[in-house]
Symmetry: C2
Subunit: 197 residues, 2 copies
């Protein structure tokens, strides 16, 4: 443990000072602080990756937020359901708190977001399509070798195009990556999220 931290520790690794940040990382910190009222701990902790982290974010954000140039057409609700279920499944406390909170905002219902994260199979409010996507998230996280032609056919049968399915696969997979990065660093959950729920 380094002596950098006072109070609960933000990350197992060194946390760069604000004036060390790349221009793009500083922009992200500033915009997020303006929008949310604070800089989430993951942004401070991940800044150690410099341009690599900027490239991660350039891939991650369009997948989570949707992008005009993306061939797939998942809803914002679907993207965040996937991110939430993967994060809870991987036992990433930081990601769990963050994605349940974001899903709560997307749904305008934090209680529903918690229920989806904790056990989506029991949530009657999900559509068939959402439930199949959520099932895909679990399988692809725990036992990725078990994805079969039948699973893909079932997703097509509820109206998803191959481009939509690929986008869901990418969302699930990159959250599996960000969960691992966050767990490796032991990023401290943002107290701002818990303070208001």
């Amino acid at each position: 443990m380094t002596a950098t931290f006072s109070g609960p520790r933000l990350s197992r690794l060194r946390v760069p000072a604000r004036d060390e940040l790349t221009p793009s990382a500083r922009r992200l910190a500033d915009t997020t602080e303006k929008a949310e009222g604070y800089v989430p701990n993951w942004i401070e902790a991940f800044a150690l990756g410099g341009e690599n982290t900027n490239r991660l974010n350039a891939y991650l954000f369009p997948l989570l937020e949707g992008a005009a140039d993306s061939p797939g057409d998942l809803t914002g609700r679907e993207r965040e359901i996937l991110a939430t279920i993967v994060s809870v499944t991987n036992g990433c406390s930081y990601c769990h708190a963050l994605h349940v909170d974001t899903l709560g905002k997307v749904l305008e219902d934090h209680w529903l977001a918690h229920r989806i994260g904790l056990h989506h199979a029991e949530v009657a409010e999900l559509s068939d399509r959402e439930r199949l996507l959520a099932d895909l998230a679990l399988t692809l996280t725990h036992t990725p070798g078990e994805i079969s032609d039948d699973r893909i056919e079932a997703l097509r049968a509820v109206g998803l195009s191959d481009e939509d399915i690929f986008e869901a696969v990418q969302v699930i997979s990159i959250i599996n990556a960000t969960n691992r990065i966050t767990l490796a660093l032991g990023v401290l959950p943002d107290e701002q999220i818990f303070a208001n729920r």
Copy 2:
């Protein structure tokens, strides 16, 4: 299953024709074909993601190949050892074949590459630093919640900076993502790899 494929199927999802590719995807296919003599199946299969895939590659390649603007300083051998061990561990046949082959080229020793992929703990040729990085790859793939302060301290003790450790964590994590994408699509291993080994 669609009727797009004759012979062994390249992917579970639709494979875009060459003239559908984004300029950046076409450039990647062309450069790789020139360098390797063929277009690897993953490039054809992942092209369904359009600009999302281009953004994935923009994050992935600098992590695997090293980049001047990266704060970490892992060797090419270390990066590819990590990618190989994660791919074998996740049971991704395509990624297993591809990364063992690439590691074999980096080491100029395909036999050593196979031994590292299959059971690195028994490989005396690894340095302590490489062995600890390889152990990190296994833990962060299977049980990411078990990374501890002690594990990080042990990595520092063999000379890795916090930036190096973070880079290793990013390599391990993104390969966990690409393994899952590849398994979801069931990408057919490239026969060109197996033909020559």
